[in-house]
């Protein structure tokens, strides 16, 4: 297990001077990432992802109150089902511009597709706050990516506590595939583990 306390990450925060929605954007190299793929329609674009989780509450007493929120963001491959509240999938994009649709496919430990999310992102100027995405009737919030060095970072929240995951004890290794627009192959993939 490779947990990074919030205090421990502050150096990074100070280094990059960035806080997003109360959650830290994470520097690559502090965590795990894996997988990869080719995206034909987007010349030169590349991506990798990092998984982080927030605990239900700070059992170790390391968290701080920030804007009324009290969470510990743990960057790791492994999260305890009894404490993790949400898992965040940060996708770091390089050489990707404009508006795109991310398709996030989350596979549960039994290998089945647990969830499919289509997340519209905008790199650069945000042309509209919502828009239609393929296959979804309602308009969807457009996520403006966050610049981090030469990367643009998109974030997808995967609720854990109080969901099918805790009810049905979906323990084991989870896989996340990130696809871009109409591509059929993932741009990047990663795994994380939910333990007892």
């Amino acid at each position: 297990m490779h947990a990074v306390s919030k205090e421990g990450r502050m150096a990074y925060f100070m280094l990059i001077g960035l806080l997003v929605s109360g959650l830290a954007m994470l520097l690559p190299g502090t965590a795990w990432a894996g997988g990869g793929g080719q995206e034909l329609r987007h010349s030169g674009a590349s991506a990798f992802l990092i998984v982080a989780g927030t605990s239900v509450y700070d059992q170790a007493g390391r968290s701080r109150r920030s804007g009324g929120m009290r969470k510990t963001l743990t960057v790791n491959t492994s999260f305890s089902i009894s404490t993790v509240r949400d898992v965040y999938v940060y996708t770091y994009w390089e050489n990707l511009f404009g508006e795109h649709d991310l398709i996030i496919l989350v596979y549960s430990p039994d290998g089945q597709l647990y969830q499919k999310r289509v997340v519209p992102i905008s790199i650069g100027q945000l042309s509209s706050s919502t828009r239609q995405v393929p296959g979804v009737e309602n308009v969807v919030d457009v996520q403006r990516t966050t610049p981090l060095g030469r990367y643009e970072v998109s974030t997808v929240q995967l609720p854990i506590a109080g969901t099918w995951i805790t009810e049905h004890r979906l323990l084991g290794t989870w896989r996340v595939d990130v696809l871009l627009d109409k591509a059929s192959a993932p741009v990047t993939s990663g795994t994380f583990i939910i333990t007892e």
Partner: protein
């Protein structure tokens, strides 16, 4: 391919990442491989997509070659060439509206003046020369032929001159010929008319029929037209005697353009009226028009604003290129004035003509005096806006662009140049993709240092800058300046979209496959089947017959479902057979072996082109007839796997319909009788993990969706509440209180008709609670759902003057007797209240102080449960406590330690013999039955209580004395385990039987249809299973040991 560079990036814990230039493999490292560089643009990809097209062009210096390239949204492919005997002069390029593979082109060859034609087959990427339709048109500088496809049949018509007075020649080409390379024109036929030799010829097809209107000017400068009805020409109409070309100025020089057309025609698009227009410029410079109303021509009218001063030289005339805007009923007519050096345009706005607009800057020298209008006008399919690329002949540079905004009926300003800094003197042609927002232009320049440009825009294309337009010099040799020696088209019949709503319902020895055809044109649906697993080998070519082998699969259907009215079963190998029922749009695959897994892939097909989802992303659906174990499932419903898991407890309209939801935000309505899909929708961008509420609205009220009185209400992780007509699936509204909200638990609904007098609202009410990231400011709110959008009745927000509220991940519970709403939440680490009570009428918080556990109860992730009389409310915590509170005052009634987190909801049984018993599951897999004895609770099953891995919410059937719970084999539900449904004895808790529901699946929460007495349960593979009869429902699966 312009050189692909590989770059490999390593990332591993605790170290920075770096890049190297070759691929490595290291077991301890995680590799991310990314190809960086221009994407490999195959000019002939597997199938044409929206935004793909083709361009042809000649040039002046390299002379006798007709070139071609394909393009997609961003890139032109490689250049192809056809060597002619002489220079390329007039060209025409057309795309079939029905066959995604087929293009036709024609070219007048200088010298011979012959019209040479070719046909293109997309599937082979090959142009094939076909008949030279005439050996001489008599002129090579004017448009003396035109090709057009019929909209419905896809048959083609070519009309042309042949140096013969009073004769317009034509030929046809059938769309049914195959393969494409063998297609050719019919023998020459003649439409006779009283006049001279055709001087210019134009044809345009009706977008709503197989009619093609042909107009021409003859050597006497008279303007004619005739209507092709798909089989033959009707009578010839003369619209004008003596066009502007017949007029001379005071010096005796012609006032008309030397070679350009002075008439044009267009059809009204997108309707059924089949109205067309022919417009022309008469001998005194007045632009006139006739309208065809489907049966006859109307009287000629003058077009205001475009007429010239008598004696002014005229440029050419263009009528909005080819068609009216379907969406907005607009038509544009452009006329050039050689004296003013300007182009004028007027647009019919649906109710009348507007004010004339001038194109080009004052003082510029618009090329209108001889060769006609250097412009094209096309309507963008997605916006209805008119795009007008044009060339200013002198003192200006590049190809310019004007856009007419149809939504505001206003012209934009001149934009550009789109083509760099050189002065353009050549031609410009354009097309708008009917399947996307893309617009394409080809423009040729006479200058020796610059040649032919292709310009494509796959974006909104709202500005004339390189930011949106891809501009490529596709040939460096100069183009002829007065000849339209190039043309551009988008593929009209692009590859079809994939089928949707793909489902399989399995019965004994039979699977029923259902799909919804895509909106894009198709000629066939092709279905592959195989057994054992869903790893298909290769995609079919498309033409395979039923029973043909494709890789490791067999074609079981390849027909046009719109015309396939036969329901006769066709044997497809071995004992299996298929039959298609057009009325229900269902394909039955029968004669199956129960227990065998059958997998299917369904392709939409248009000609030889399969849908654009033919790669790895294509869904393959597996199904078994049944599992072969008696008594078998009544049916198993299988929605295409890409919608995600369905672990939700199905919502029931007993005996009528079953509603389930998925991780993708999809909701499906299934017929309770036959398990066939009734409707499916994906309203949400987030998962819908809890039950949809099915509500028969009180009184005569509706849920704001048409007249719907039976409504479905669902809550999604995207934060929205969704409403839908539960019966038809039609219509929807959505409501989200604030961006960032997450809804995890289902909605509670208080029905006015079932409420007492204390319920003051006049309509039913929805209640929702948020599972937001905040630990203090979650919300509970009430909606009046009778309007779209609904109105908020009251709102409670944690924090501030209110007690802090952590996330709510389960549905509220309603107490009708007291008009109360109970809500459970997390407790922010045991520091906040987690059992809440509100008035349903006004949202007043009724749980205060130490009542209902105060701040000491701890996290609760499952919904509160009420006794049948509403006197007791139960809550199960994540630390394994069941707490019972008296609702009269919120005092603790009793507390029971289960020892492990309460993972499922609590079922409070009320039926005879079991009233007062609570059933639930805990995280350690134990399934519980405890009894509320008033002052305490008693563990009924005790040491005999069963343990089930990942035990679900238990469903109790008192009449049968059974309890059913989902779970799986092994230590957890990871890959390799079996999804299982267990039958427990309600008296002892003993596991009596189990049934395997498939390897590598997790089983959801069961439900019981009391009308059909069927057990229903979903699973992580998206399937919903149903078993009949409460007793012995599982039958004793020999492969499953309880």
């Amino acid at each position: 391919m312009d050189g692909i560079r590989n770059r490999v990036r390593f990332l591993f814990q605790g170290m920075a990442f770096f890049s190297v230039t070759r691929a490595l493999s290291c077991g301890a490292l995680f590799l991310l491989v990314q190809f960086i560089g221009p994407f490999a643009q195959g000019p002939e990809a597997l199938a044409a997509q929206a935004g793909d097209g083709h361009v042809i062009y000649g040039n002046r210096n390299a002379s006798t070659t007709l070139y071609n390239r394909s393009f997609n949204g961003t890139t032109f492919g490689l250049e192809g060439a056809l060597l002619l005997a002489d220079f390329v002069r007039w060209t025409d390029l057309e795309a079939s509206p029905t066959d995604a593979d087929r293009l036709l082109r024609g070219v007048i060859e200088k010298g011979t003046k012959a019209v040479k034609t070719s046909i293109f087959d997309y599937s082979t990427g090959t142009w094939t020369e076909i008949t030279t339709v005439t050996s001489s048109t008599g002129n090579d500088s004017r448009r003396l032929f035109d090709i057009e496809f019929e909209e419905g049949t896809g048959d083609a018509l070519i009309v042309y001159a042949s140096s013969t007075a009073g004769a317009l020649r034509y030929r046809t080409l059938s769309s049914a010929c195959a393969p494409i390379a063998t297609c050719d024109w019919s023998a020459q036929q003649t439409l006779n008319f009283a006049g001279g030799t055709p001087r210019t010829v134009r044809a345009a097809r009706d977008p709503d029929s197989d009619d093609v209107l042909v107009a021409w000017e003859d050597s006497n400068f008279d303007v004619f037209s005739a209507l092709w009805n798909g089989s033959s020409f009707g009578g010839v109409t003369i619209h004008e005697t003596n066009s502007i070309n017949a007029a001379l100025d005071t010096s005796g020089a012609p006032l008309g353009p030397k070679d350009s057309q002075v008439f044009d025609l267009a059809w009204e698009g997108g309707g059924s009226t089949s109205e067309a227009m022919v417009a022309w410029m008469n001998s005194v410079g007045v632009v006139r028009y006739n309208t065809w109303t489907g049966g006859a021509w109307g009287l000629s009218n003058d077009l205001p604003g475009l007429s010239f001063a008598v004696g002014d030289k005229a440029g050419g005339l263009v009528v909005a290129s080819t068609r009216w805007s379907a969406a907005h009923s607009r038509i544009a007519i452009f006329a050039g004035n050689g004296n003013e050096k300007r182009i004028k345009v007027n647009i019919w706005s649906g109710t009348g003509w507007g004010a004339a607009e001038l194109l080009g800057s004052v003082g510029s020298d618009m090329r209108t005096d001889k060769e006609g209008l250097p412009l094209e006008a096309v309507w963008q399919a997605t916006t209805g806006n008119l795009f007008v690329p044009f060339i200013v002949r002198q003192n200006d540079i590049g190809v310019r662009l004007r856009i007419y905004d149809v939504s505001s009926d206003t012209w934009g300003v001149d934009q550009g140049p789109l083509t760099g800094t050189d002065i353009f003197k050549g031609y410009v042609r354009a097309d708008a993709d009917r399947n996307s927002q893309a617009v394409g232009i080809v423009a040729g320049d006479k200058n020796v240092d610059i040649g032919t440009f292709g310009l494509i825009c796959a974006h909104p294309c709202s500005v004339g800058t390189a930011a949106e337009w891809t501009t490529t010099e596709i040939n460096t040799a100069a183009a002829e300046d007065k000849i339209v020696a190039g043309d551009i088209v988008f593929y009209e019949a692009v590859s079809p979209a994939p089928v949707t709503d793909l489902t399989i319902t399995s019965y004994n020895a039979e699977n029923v496959i259902f799909w919804a055809n895509p909106a894009t044109p198709i000629t066939h649906i092709l279905v592959l089947a195989k057994t054992s697993d869903c790893t298909f080998g290769i995609d079919p070519g498309g033409a395979e017959g039923i029973g043909a082998t494709v890789g490791n699969a067999v074609v079981i259907y390849n027909n046009n479902p719109a015309t396939d009215l036969s329901s006769t079963p066709v044997t497809v190998g071995g004992p299996t057979a298929v039959s298609y029922t057009a009325a229900t749009q269902r394909l039955v695959h029968s004669g199956l072996t129960d227990g065998t897994v059958y997998c299917y892939k369904v392709y939409a097909r248009n000609g030889s082109q399969l849908d654009d989802n033919s790669g790895a992303g294509r869904p393959a659906v597996s199904a078994t007839g049944t599992d072969g174990v008696a008594p078998s499932a009544v049916w198993t419903f299988n929605l295409v796997s890409s919608v995600g898991a369905s672990l939700v407890q199905p919502s029931l309209d007993p005996g009528v319909a079953i509603y389930t939801s998925y991780g993708s935000g999809t909701i499906a309505s299934i017929g309770a009788t036959d398990g066939l899909l009734s409707w499916r929708a994906t309203p949400a961008a987030g998962a819908i993990q809890d039950q949809s509420a099915i509500v028969w609205m009180s009184g005569s009220s509706t849920c704001g969706i048409g007249g719907a009185t039976t409504c479905l209400f669902a809550a999604s992780q995207d934060g929205y509440v969704y409403a839908r007509n539960a019966v038809s699936g039609a219509g929807t509204w959505s409501y989200r209180h604030a961006a960032g909200d997450v809804l995890q638990g289902a909605l509670a609904v208080q029905i006015k008709d079932y409420s007492n007098a204390g319920y003051m609202p006049t309509v039913d009410r929805l209640f929702a609670a948020t599972r937001n990231t905040t630990t203090i400011a979650n919300k509970v709110y009430a909606l009046d759902p009778t309007t779209a959008p609904p109105t908020i009745a009251w709102l409670f927000t944690g924090g501030g003057v209110n007690p802090a509220m952590d996330m709510v991940s389960s549905p509220p519970a309603l107490d009708y007797a007291n008009n109360r709403l109970y809500v459970t939440s997390h407790s922010n680490g045991g520091t906040q209240r987690s059992l809440w009570v509100f008035s349903t009428v006004d949202g007043a918080l009724l749980s205060t102080g130490a009542s209902y556990g105060g701040t000491s109860l701890g996290d609760v992730a499952v919904p509160p449960a009420l006794s049948v009389d509403g006197s007791v409310v139960y809550a199960g915590t994540t630390t394994g406590t069941i707490a019972a509170y008296n609702t009269i005052d919120g005092s603790l009634r009793w507390s029971f330690a289960a020892g492990s987190a309460v993972a499922s909801g609590l079922w409070v049984e009320f039926r005879a013999g079991l009233a007062g018993n609570l059933f639930f599951s805990t995280a350690n897999g134990r399934v519980w039955r405890i009894r509320d004895d008033g002052a305490s609770a008693t563990d009924i099953w005790g040491a005999g209580a069963p343990t089930v891995t990942a035990a679900s919410f238990p469903v109790v059937i008192p009449s049968a004395g059974k309890v059913y719970v989902g779970g799986c084999s092994g230590a957890n539900c990871a890959a390799g385990s079996q999804g299982r449904l267990y039958q427990l004895d309600v008296a002892t808790g003993a596991k009596e039987q189990c049934r395997n529901l498939g390897a590598n699946v997790t089983v959801g929460d069961p439900a019981f249809d009391t009308v059909f007495e069927r057990l229903l349960v979903g699973a992580s593979d998206g399937k919903v299973h149903t078993y009949a009869a409460p007793a012995g429902i599982l039958g004793g699966d020999p492969s499953c040991t309880p």
